[in-house]
Amino acid sequence: MMTPEERAMRRPSVMRDRAARRMLADHLVPGLPIDGDPPETRRRADAMGDSLDGVVKSLLSVPNEFYDRICSEWTSLFPGSPSKPLSFDEDARAFKIVLAVPNAGAAFALRAQMPHIKRTLKALDGAPRKKITLLVRIG
């Protein structure tokens, strides 16, 4: 009597087997892991110059008058808010302000304040014309 392994070996490939193999092959991306997890590892190789630029950028503190102002005036602009500005970033579409909150409870409470914070920031003198986006970091 044949073992399951022997039976499997003797079985000719059927359409379903070929489809399964093709599906696996379809998922292969040169230079990327087969299983794709974790997705953070899915990066195309950066040029050395780009990497150096990134490092230099992360070490330099980019002055921004508007961001400096809201940092200094945050508690008077938003008294009682559980948040405080942590950093900023901007691209062609948006001026992004990262707000730090101490815990998940504070983040939940911040939900109700975010439209007011956005409106107030947008109305300040010197506010960027582009969209203001708030990002939240806990802890």
């Binding site: 599906m23 379809d26 998922h27 292969l28 991306v29 990327l32 794709g36 997705p39 953070e40 899915r42 990066r43 195309r44 559980p82 579409r93 948006a94 707000l99 101490p102 815990n103 998940a104 409870g105 504070a106 983040a107 939940f108 409470a109 911040l110 939900r111 109700a112 304040q113 975010m114 439209p115 007011h116 956005k118 582009k130 969209k131 986006t133 708030l134 990002l135 939240v136 970091r137 806990i138």
Partner: protein, 298 residues
């Protein structure tokens, strides 16, 4: 009230109208309420910043590194009164042309960390079958994509839309997961269960994202009845969301403490497979926050 209706008109397809007449919990999601015009409501109409400049390219938004949201349509089979995008529907930035779709595909290819594409809207199933399949196949054919999520309320609001032929074609893509929304047990009608069975039998996992709504499902008994009905229909209860911070939904919001009590009671009365995660989606946060983590409000 007139402002609320202007922003988000009352609309329901014939099936939803019939269901609203039979199921009070569903009717609350269909019928406008005077409290939608509450001027003290502190929330905006676009809590997640999806309007206009929120798009990375036409109709595509990226909030998390491994996922993108693709707006395939700007209408639904009914206008839910608790809709997160009530300020965006009818004039949303959606993928309308082949060029828009090509741009979305190129965006995904340029961001190799993206592995999960959410086809949403509006409801993608308001589109004809061929259009739905065109979207699904376009993203499923990108090798880095593991999951194409079809975010549709059609199994609940218009189950006849889910035909065996459509399910077969979706299932054949091999990467499609369906996320739907049922909010009370009365919504899981035989027709709805048949639509879910159609999708599951075609090889697609079907999950349910419920929204915790005051007056609709804000008790452990009501939610447990829903979770059991979903399991009978082979639908995985996946999330229970706190109502999103969108204007005009103050009457639907359940206090956090009450939500935690409901979650604790549900956890004691149903097994893990039938118990979804109770979470709050916080604009700008890199993850959804389980309400059990929110120990105290400041």
């Amino acid at each position: 009230m007139r402002d609320a209706l202007k922003l988000h008109p009352r609309f329901a397809c014939p099936y939803s109208e019939k269901l609203a007449a039979e199921c009070p919990g569903f009717a609350m999601q269909v019928e406008p309420d005077v409290r939608e015009s509450d001027e003290d409501d502190e929330f905006g109409t676009d809590p997640f910043g999806e309007e206009g400049d929120g798009a990375a390219c036409p109709g595509l938004k990226q909030r998390f590194p491994d996922r993108v949201l693709v707006m395939t349509s700007d209408s639904c089979f009914m206008n839910c009164r608790h809709c997160t995008r009530k300020g965006l529907l009818s004039n949303a930035d959606v993928v309308r042309t082949d060029e828009d779709l090509a741009e979305c595909i190129n965006y995904v290819k340029d961001h190799p960390a993206v592995r999960d594409v959410l086809l949403s809207g509006g409801d993608p199933l308001v589109l004809p079958d061929d259009e739905v399949i065109r979207f699904v196949e376009a993203f499923a054919d990108v090798p880095q994509i593991d999951v194409v999520r079809l975010c549709t309320r059609a199994p609940c609001t218009n189950p006849e839309r889910v035909t065996p032929e459509l399910a077969r074609r979706l299932g054949r893509c091999g990467k499609v997961w369906v996320n739907t929304q049922f909010n009370c047990a009365g919504e899981v009608t035989p027709a709805a269960a048949a639509a879910c069975a159609c999708l599951v039998n075609a090889g697609m996992p079907v999950s349910c994202q419920t929204v915790l709504l005051a007056g609709v499902n804000d008790s452990a008994d009501e939610l447990l009845a829903l979770f059991r009905a979903l399991q009978r229909a082979r639908v995985r209860p996946y999330y229970v969301f706190m109502c999103d911070p969108v204007a005009g939904t103050s009457h639907f919001r359940v206090p956090l403490e009450r939500a935690r009590e409901i979650e604790a009671e549900c956890a004691e009365r149903i097994g893990g497979l039938g118990l979804p995660r109770f979470v709050a989606d916080i604009p700008g946060s890199p993850r959804k926050i389980p309400i059990s983590e929110i120990e105290s409000l400041p």
